[in-house]
């Protein structure tokens, strides 16, 4: 790799740099790609990476083996994982101690270590390469696949695989209007939840009067259960930067901001490094690639507020104020950050722009449905076997995602519901899983594509409790400015809490529906407007659960504490005492080897004993 970074002053310089980088990489005998994304990081992948580096140094193999830590590969459940080339061998569940063995067997002798390979859950056979794994097979990994090939802290990697060529093409071949036209033909719609046609937003901003314009990347990703944006920003920050630059060229902006939520320190770090490296190469700053285009960027951290994902609140936060939304009668494309025309798009939206320019709009529009084009990344989580990041073409049925890719529910239970779209979305029951992931189809069914979180729920999940969970979340995150959201969500939560605690009355269900309509129609911002969706969708698809809670004072899933009792089945209990030791409230008594008893007046039904008991002796009624 070049030590002194030459400034790339023209497209020709860039092309030559790319050739040089590609040829320098060919000299490595083996290449190891270890996932350093969020999930694997939590599985201590850094220790694995360090172990490899240490072992290679010990054996003096550093010159022939290239070790690279990359962003998220998507299959978080199986981490830490790595891919070995040549051979494209996929190893998972790694520990630092495996480093030596892998080097000795696979790198030096070319032999595959069976126990580290992935086992196909259906055939029970070992699988060698990533492409054969069912989790990956059904996906269309346009964006995520790139994560494998780049070290996020190395701009050279990104340039070597073709990075910034879309920018070069834009500056030399496309006028701003043509860029907008390309994006329009591609049919790209916002990936942050709104699904607004991106080209229309850009066109409006371009035509808004004013010299000073801004582009913003919304990396706030507040939806719980969603981490796609984090993985893109952490794993491939240059893709986002390039996308923003193309957008800025189209709109006429010279300054850009990436607003990252405070809970993503690694994303902030990688994006900062990426910007710095781009500046060193002259890819950010004045007269980029000699095309007369000047542009620079800044990173801003959020403060920990879900409402700052809303565009006007985000802009207020960028201005150093509290994140309170303002009415959008005048759109932010005309009057946004510091009252200047501003284009705000989600991380994934920006990330889709360079491929559209490079491969052409028709390529993008060739995937997906009539109203929703291209691919979308989803975060598949919850009570499903294979959790992780999934990228599929729009229009794929939910069933494919949950069962073919996700492998169905864990512990052999049945899937009861699938929640999409985060706190703004809704829960869909099992019989609606043939719905395609399409903006309009899910919206009509009472849910949303949203930012892409898909949470799978099984029969042990109480849907009324889920509604309560989301209402509590929104109540906590509401800014509190307008009456319908602040008081309306509060009262809805009060009613649903009454229902889960056994005080529900039938007329409250009607009141809940009426209140939900008021909150949805009269709130100031998107948070309030979509707040009733979880309640309304659970009422629509699971009315029998509400009825059980209200009329029979019973929780069918066995979750709502006031409606259940914990008991120990004396016949199954063998007196091991695990539950007695685990109970934080001292509610279980019993002698060793004798059946234990739960004192119901002390029992808080927290569920800890149930999760610890290995003999299935605790029953919930």
């Amino acid at each position: 790799m070049p030590k002194v970074k030459p400034r790339v002053k023209s497209v020709k310089d860039l092309t030559e740099l790319r050739k040089r980088l590609r040829s320098s990489v060919k000299n490595f005998k083996s290449k190891l790609t270890i996932c350093g994304g969020t999930g694997c990081h939590a599985s201590r992948s850094q220790d694995v990476i360090d172990a490899f580096k240490k072992e290679l140094k010990k054996r003096k193999l550093e010159e022939g083996v290239w070790v690279r830590a990359t962003g998220c590969h998507g299959f978080c459940e199986q981490g830490p994982l790595m891919i070995l080339e040549p051979g494209n061998i996929f190893y998972c569940g790694l520990k630092p101690g495996d480093a030596g063995e892998i080097i000795a067997e696979t790198i030096l002798k070319g032999e595959v270590i069976e126990r580290l390979l992935y086992t196909d859950p259906v055939t029970s056979k070992k699988v060698r390469t990533e492409a054969e794994i069912p989790f990956y097979r059904a996906q269309d990994r346009q964006l995520l696949a790139q994560n494998r090939h780049v070290d996020p802290c190395s701009i050279e990697d990104y340039i070597a695989i073709g990075g910034y060529s879309a920018l070069a093409k834009t500056l030399t071949e496309f006028s701003p209007e043509k860029v907008i036209e390309e994006v329009k033909i591609s049919g790209l719609r916002g990936r942050g939840g709104g699904g607004f046609p991106t080209a229309r937003k850009w066109a409006e901003c371009r035509s808004a009067p004013g010299e000073e314009k801004y582009v913003i990347c919304n990396a706030d990703e507040g939806d719980p259960g969603a981490y796609m944006d984090r993985s893109i920003l952490e794993g491939n920050p240059h893709l986002v930067i390039e996308g923003m630059m193309i957008g800025a060229w189209a709109i006429g902006a010279r300054q850009g901001y990436i607003y990252v939520r405070n809970e993503y320190p690694l994303a902030v770090k990688h994006a900062r490094i990426a910007m710095q490296q781009a500046r060193e190469y002259g890819l950010l700053g004045d007269d980029i690639l000699g095309g007369g285009f000047s542009f620079d960027m800044e990173i801003c951290r959020g403060g920990g507020a879900f409402v700052c994902g809303e565009s006007t609140a985000l802009m207020a936060s960028l201005e150093g104020k509290v994140g309170e939304p303002r009415p959008k009668d005048v759109h932010t494309v005309a009057n946004g950050l510091w009252h200047k025309p501003t284009t705000l798009n989600n991380v994934e939206t920006w990330a889709n722009v360079p491929p559209i320019i490079s491969n052409g709009a028709a390529w993008f529009a060739g995937k997906g449905t009539r109203g929703s084009k291209g691919t979308k990344i989803f975060a598949l989580t919850g009570r499903v076997k294979n959790t992780g990041l999934v990228e599929v073409a729009m229009g794929t049925p939910l069933r494919t995602i949950v069962f073919d890719i996700g492998g169905g529910a864990i512990n052999g239970r049945a899937v009861k519901a699938v929640q999409t779209g985060g706190p703004s979305g809704g829960c869909l029951p099992l019989d609606r899983l043939d719905l395609p992931v399409d903006f309009d189809a899910l919206y009509d069914a009472g849910s949303m594509v949203g930012s892409g979180g898909i949470v799978v729920m099984d029969e042990k999940t109480c849907m009324v409790d889920v509604a309560k969970y989301f209402l509590a979340f929104l109540q906590d995150e509401s800014c509190g400015k307008c009456v319908p959201c602040r008081l309306g969500i509060d009262r809805m939560l009060e009613i649903v809490t009454d229902i889960t605690e056994g005080r529900g009355r039938p007329e409250q269900i009607d009141l809940l529906k009426e209140l939900a309509d008021t909150v949805a129609s009269a709130s100031l911002c998107g948070l309030g407007k979509t707040a009733p969706n979880p309640v309304l969708s659970t009422l629509r698809y699971f009315p029998e659960e509400y009825e059980a809670h209200v009329n029979e004072k019973r929780c069918p899933a066995g979750v709502c504490r006031e409606l259940i009792e914990y008991e120990i089945d004396a016949e199954k209990c063998n007196g091991c005492g695990t539950c007695r030791r685990a109970c934080p409230y001292d509610a279980i008594k019993g002698k060793k080897k004798e059946a234990h008893v739960i004192a119901s007046h002390k029992c808080q039904k927290c569920g800890i004993c149930l999760s610890e008991c290995k003999f299935d002796s605790i029953i919930v009624t």
Binding site: P224, G382, I608
Partner: protein, 173 residues
Amino acid sequence: MSVLTLESILKGRRSQPHQLIEVLHDVQERYRHIPEEDMRIVSRELGVPLIEVYRVANFYKAFSLKPRGRNVITICTGTACHVRGSNLLSNQVLGQLGISPGDTTEDGQFTLEQVNCLGACALGPVVVLNGTYYKHMTPSKLRSLINSVNEKGIEDTDDAKGKTKGKKRQRSH
């Protein structure tokens, strides 16, 4: 708090009201909370009305006005972690240390925070202790983790990960 350190945080940011949140982040990182006196200085130096500084410090979860404990336990309460039982972990802390989210133990050892999604959803339930992520947490693992901090004052990393379940505790270093 020393005026000198606040000086280094404010350097290059004077009279720039939009830097307020970044400045408060730095103060929070350095001192584990935002003291009243600092808010007054920041208000003056950045040119932001005092009430605005106070508002921003109260609005965002990242900032605390009361000092946090030496060890911060952050439990993720996102949807995926919730569905996998993150409330069991909150209950565990309540039972073991007697604190609710937002509270600090009397000896200043632990603070419990709840966060609405850390972005590690596939490995829920997730707990972060002093910046280190722990995946697939259960109440018993959390119990061991807290105990390991209690007993040694600093983390014993092997035990904390619960890897020594059933095995004898080894003095690793």
